[in-house]
């Protein structure tokens, strides 16, 4: 087995981006095919990783280690654990379908694909990086292209000024794509600053002057260090995971972003945040994780219910889906806060399930928007007559979103709720389950208004179903939702090995919340 497998997965999109730089602007089809090949290479690599990852052996496999700054203990060290396997697959699926969904981007398409691919390389890198410094570096590479992608290719949505802070509106043009891009970038950078501080605290207190995550994991940091590091990591990465009240970049950002960028951002990037909280915060600072768990879990259930309630009264379809991400990322954070195997498995599974589901949602919303030229739900109606496939896939995504058994969403939510029910805080499940009910209300109402009803006339008389490359996202992601809903062990077996290993190595963590 090639030992450069992970480098291949990480580098393929970046290499494709470099190739795009050499292509002339007129080579539109070549641009797309090169991008698709880069994405497919990564997906294929991720599938090979999943295929040959040894579940009996567990641990970190496909290790690659290249010194970067040896004097400071910085290495490019790549390895895949069970969580990485699931998230690599997710990222691969989303980028391939995302490229397919971007086939019709016509404004500065070359630059668009270059940025998209660079971003994805960063995402792949974060999921397999075993060196905190490189982890952080790639994290920034994954986050920053968003500014350009939203600011240049995004769309605007006017928000009327109101409330106690309306005097601010004048200055910011709230709702415009420039505003969304700026807010997203600034908020995430503030988060990054917190992570940077935490990183150097860990580095200097480790005694070994190393950024190696496995070496750091072996260090028993003092309680005071942990209590300093954990909240920084939680808020730093948590901003990207949409933790309340630092989630407000997300609805504006996702609503303004172009289709593929929304897919990637809500589908994959938010998971980087949750992954960071678990992989860096909880594993490296277990005592503090136990101490902070009531807060993390409490905020997570606020996320779930509050996000769902906010989504229920949005009039713009993209905002509905964006707020549903805030709600669903709460499920991930709740699972993380349980600090038990069921909850952690559920959290990672929810990262995957929500990624697929929201990717599908944004792809479909993009499809609908392209044809109807509106995102206002109340203006639509009867679209199922003209676009039955879109209607079916939207319904499927809705059902996964509300946690229907047989879809991936159920497995994830159920595991998380099971995990929460067996902690000291079983009441966490109450707002969690209520949030799932509110989700049922808003997604099905949206599906009903948009797709059901009499045959549309007038401006919507000539809609058409998905065609050509537009089929990519609905088919692949829709099938994945059902496959991983019926047969969760396809992924859970990987995830569980790693969750169990982390919990076993840290006996303090296991059942600390019983």
């Amino acid at each position: 087995m090639s030992t450069h497998l992970l480098s291949l997965v990480v580098a393929a999109p970046a290499v494709a981006a470099a190739l795009l730089l050499l292509l002339p602007r007129q080579a539109r089809l070549a641009t797309r095919w090169v991008s698709l090949c880069g994405a497919l290479t990564s997906l294929a690599g991720a599938l090979v990783v999943a295929w040959s990852w040894d579940k009996a052996k567990g641990g970190f496999q496909f290790l690659e280690d290249y010194p970067l700054v040896p004097s400071l203990g910085i290495h490019i060290k790549l390895a895949a654990d069970g969580w990485s396997v699931a998230l690599l697959l997710l990222t691969g699926l989303i980028i391939v379908t995302g490229v397919l969904a971007s086939w019709k981007v016509d404004r500065r398409d070359k630059e668009f694909f270059i940025l998209l691919l660079v971003l994805v390389s960063g995402v792949f890198g974060v999921f397999v990086s075993q060196d905190l410094f490189v982890f952080f570096l790639l994290y920034e590479i994954a986050v920053l292209p968003m500014y350009l992608l939203i600011g240049i290719w995004g769309s605007s949505h006017e928000v009327p000024p109101a409330g106690p802070f309306r005097f601010v509106w004048k200055r910011f043009a709230v709702g415009s794509r420039e505003y969304a891009a700026m807010k997203l970038t600034l908020m995430l950078l503030v988060g990054s600053a917190a992570i940077l501080v935490a990183m150097f605290v860990l580095w200097s207190h480790s005694g070994a002057r190393t950024f190696d995550l496995q070496a750091l994991q072996a260090v028993a940091f003092s309680r005071s260090t942990q209590m300093l590091v954990f909240p920084l990591v939680w808020l730093g990465f948590g901003t990207l995971a949409g933790v309340f009240p630092f989630h407000t970049w997300s609805p504006d950002g996702h609503a303004s972003a172009p289709t593929a960028v929304s897919m990637l951002h809500a589908g994959v990037l938010m998971k980087l945040g949750a992954f960071g909280v678990m992989r860096v915060g909880m594993v490296l600072a277990p005592d503090a994780a136990v101490a902070w768990a009531p807060v993390v879990g409490g905020v997570a259930v606020v996320n779930i219910l509050y996000g769902a309630l906010c989504a229920a009264s949005q009039t713009d379809l993209k905002y509905v889906i964006a707020y549903s991400s805030v709600s669903h990322m709460g499920v991930v954070m709740l699972g993380a806060a349980t600090l038990n195997a069921a909850g952690w498995n559920g959290a990672v599974y929810q990262m995957f399930a929500h990624g697929i589901m929201t990717g599908l949602f944004f792809a479909l919303v993009g499809l609908v928007y392209e044809r109807a030229h509106t995102r206002t739900i109340a203006r639509m109606g009867g679209f199922a007559h003209a676009m039955p496939a879109v209607a079916v896939c939207f319904t499927l995504a809705s059902l996964s979103s509300l946690g229907l058994p047989g879809t991936a969403g159920f497995v994830a939510e159920f595991l998380v709720f099971l995990g929460a029910a067996t902690t000291r805080f079983p009441w966490w499940t109450v707002p969690g389950v209520l949030g799932a009910f509110v989700t049922a209300v808003y997604v099905l109402r949206a599906a009903k208004t948009i797709f059901w009803g009499p045959l549309p006339t007038g401006e919507f008389a000539h809609l058409e179903d998905a065609r050509g490359t537009e089929w990519g996202a609905p088919l692949v992601l829709g099938a994945a939702l059902v496959l991983f809903g019926l047969w969760p062990r396809l992924l859970l077996d990987f995830i569980d090995v790693t969750s169990a290993a982390f919990l076993q190595r840290l006996p303090l963590l296991a059942d600390a919340l019983r």
Binding site: A162, F165, G406, F417, A421, K448, G453
Partner: protein, 601 residues
């Protein structure tokens, strides 16, 4: 691989395969013959497997339970899925598959006017439904039962909304899903509580009385939603927006009975929770009488039958609450046949007169003799006339509540038995007797694919009652015919009710004033409206607040922070004047200050 497991897998796998093929191959779904053929063939296979299982069972085959791990945690198995083949599940499987098969064959002709696309979609939904229902029926634990439970809920949503172009159908579909989903939170919490306290999803687990009470109470909430018990019954009458065969299969014979089936399955847990059983007794008896009253004032033949279903489910719930799961299950079985028969016969009438309204019918006995005959059979069975299936099981239900809770539930159920006969008599009088209306004058008997299932279902509607003893042996319950107060009063109630109907409704269309008041209470003012205002006044209002808070408060703080940063920047910017003398002056001042701090002091 032993044979019963294989049969169980076939029963589960055949409809799943049909559904999968219809989803994966659009060309099959968009043509009539392959779509209907695949679905019906799969149902036939499933029904054959179920029949074989039942026959083997009668021959003394033992209970079988196989499971595979489904959710792992730390290397252990958290949850399993699999098959449980015992007396209850194989009988239920047979009932479900046979009724489904009849309904699907009936639909061949009933749905013929649909476009090919809709026709295929209809049968694909049916295949999906049968898979989900079998998944529920064969579940070895509450988790898989829950999975099937939710999936049949979705197929119900899809089938109610089958005519999605009609806004009323769309609304009814969503309403049904929301109401049952609201109740299903109870099921989910029950699973969580059960797992947190026993580490298992099995209904046989030895739970403490407190845990059992909590779990069963939560489960019962889900049953109230699924089996349309008061006050969550309001979705069922609206669900009649779906095609009539769907109403027969899902909203009368099988899916709504899933709630009762779950009560039968989880009976070991309920046996540890007497408080929940008392609650069930009251809710069931109350719903039975209440819904029977409402059935009396409906003008839409399907809505009469819908309320009748609520009422009959109440009967089953009450019996199980009284501690006789067998009586409830027996009535579930007979009800499935005669209610499916009634709905399909009603469908045949609707097909002929193109209206659901009783007022548009009348005198159909001449134009549609076969349909009229089987409808009469169904009505007599439902009314509990001695000699019909409904009598045997209803008698058992009534006997089970004898003397319970100061005889009040018994009286309520007896009253509902009388009212059942009364409203069925009303339908008979209005639709089949009397002078034919304009539409009814041109009605004609449907073709063989519609009459065939009717005749087939009429057989068990008459004779299924004879199977009581066999069923009791298969389930290990004790069953003996008895002659006493209950059967006599029940027979009298049935006969009197039917007689009174001819007397009361024989003339011009008279309405019952107090029943109309009740209808106002149910739909106009309180129950239905109550749920709607809960949705509009509470959920949407709170949601509106959340939206405002997020946009203008939480987001406002973030914006204000950004604004503040810019303002500070603007304020201090004039310091950078770009003039050398200002900077030299600042350097001088700085130097003086440092000097003062350092030495001059």
């Amino acid at each position: 691989m032993n044979s019963p497991v294989l049969l169980g897998e076939v029963a589960l796998g055949a409809p799943a395969l049909a559904a999968l093929l219809l989803v994966v191959f659009p060309w099959a779904r968009r043509r009539r013959a392959p779509a209907a053929g695949l679905t019906i063939a799969s149902s036939l296979v499933a029904a054959a497997a179920a029949a074989k299982l039942v026959i083997d069972r009668t021959g003394g085959a033992p209970d079988v339970r196989v499971t595979i791990p489904w959710l792992p945690a730390q290397g252990h198995t958290l949850a399993e899925v699999g098959l449980q083949l015992d007396g209850v599940s194989v009988v239920m499987l047979l009932v479900v598959t046979v009724v489904a098969l009849c309904v699907q064959v009936f639909s061949l002709e009933y749905m013929r006017d649909e476009t090919a696309r809709s026709y295929g979609r209809y049968f694909a939904y049916h295949a999906l439904f049968l898979f989900s229902m079998n998944l529920l029926v064969l579940a070895p634990n509450l988790l898989q039962l829950f999975a099937g439970w939710e999936l049949v809920g979705v197929t119900s949503y899809l089938l109610i909304g089958f005519y999605f172009a009609r806004p009323s159908a769309a609304r009814a579909a969503v309403k049904a899903f929301w109401m049952t989903k609201l109740a299903d939170m109870g099921f989910l919490f029950a699973l969580l509580v059960l797992f947190a306290s026993t580490g298992s999803f099995d209904w046989t687990v030895a739970a403490s009385p407190q845990v059992a009470t909590a779990v069963t109470a939560l489960l019962f909430i889900a049953v109230v939603g699924k089996s349309a018990q008061f006050p969550l019954h309001v979705w069922l009458p609206d669900a009649m927006e779906g095609p009539t065969p769907v109403s027969a299969l899902l909203h009368a014979a099988t899916m709504v009975a899933a709630g009762v089936y779950m009560l039968v399955r989880a009976d070991p847990l309920f046996a540890r929770a007497p408080a929940t059983r008392d609650l069930m007794l009251w809710v069931g008896a109350g719903t039975a009488a209440f819904a029977a009253l409402l059935a009396l004032v409906q003008t839409d033949i399907k809505r009469v039958l819908a309320y009748s279903t609520c009422s009959q489910l109440g009967l089953m719930v009450a019996a199980i609450g009284a501690g006789s799961a067998f009586a409830g299950f027996f009535h579930l079985g007979t009800h499935a046949f005669f209610k499916a028969l009634l709905f399909l016969a009603a469908g045949s009438v609707i097909h002929a007169v193109h209206s659901n309204e009783l007022g548009a019918m009348g005198g159909l006995r001449r134009r549609m003799p076969l349909t009229s005959a089987v409808f009469v059979v169904g009505a007599l069975s439902l009314s509990g006339v001695p000699g019909f299936a409904g009598f045997a099981s209803k008698d058992l239900v009534l006997a089970s509540v004898e003397g319970k809770a100061g005889w009040v539930p018994w009286v309520l159920l007896m009253a509902s038995a009388f009212l059942t006969a009364l409203y069925m008599g009303r339908v008979l009088v209005k639709a089949f007797l009397g002078p034919p209306s304009e539409a009814a004058a041109h009605a004609h008997e449907p073709g063989f694919s519609m009459t065939g299932p009717l005749v087939l279902l009429a057989v068990p509607a008459v004779f299924a009652g004879l199977l009581g003893g066999w069923l009791a042996r298969s389930l290990g319950a004790d069953y003996h015919l008895h002659l006493g107060l209950t059967p006599v009063v029940a027979s009298a109630a049935a006969v009197l009710g039917l007689g009174a109907a001819v007397f009361v409704f024989g003339g011009a269309g008279r309405r019952v004033p107090w029943a109309a008041a009740l209808e106002y209470f149910d739909r106009g003012a309180f129950v239905d409206r109550g749920w709607e205002s809960l949705y509009r006044q509470v959920l949407l209002r709170v949601s509106g607040w959340a939206r405002w808070v997020d946009r203008y408060l939480v987001d406002g703080v973030i914006n204000a922070l950004g604004w503040g940063t810019l303002e500070v920047g603007t304020t201090v910017r004039p310091l950078q004047t770009g003039r050398t003398r200002d900077y030299v002056f600042a350097v001088m001042v700085g130097a003086l200050v440092l000097a003062w701090l350092g030495g001059w002091r």
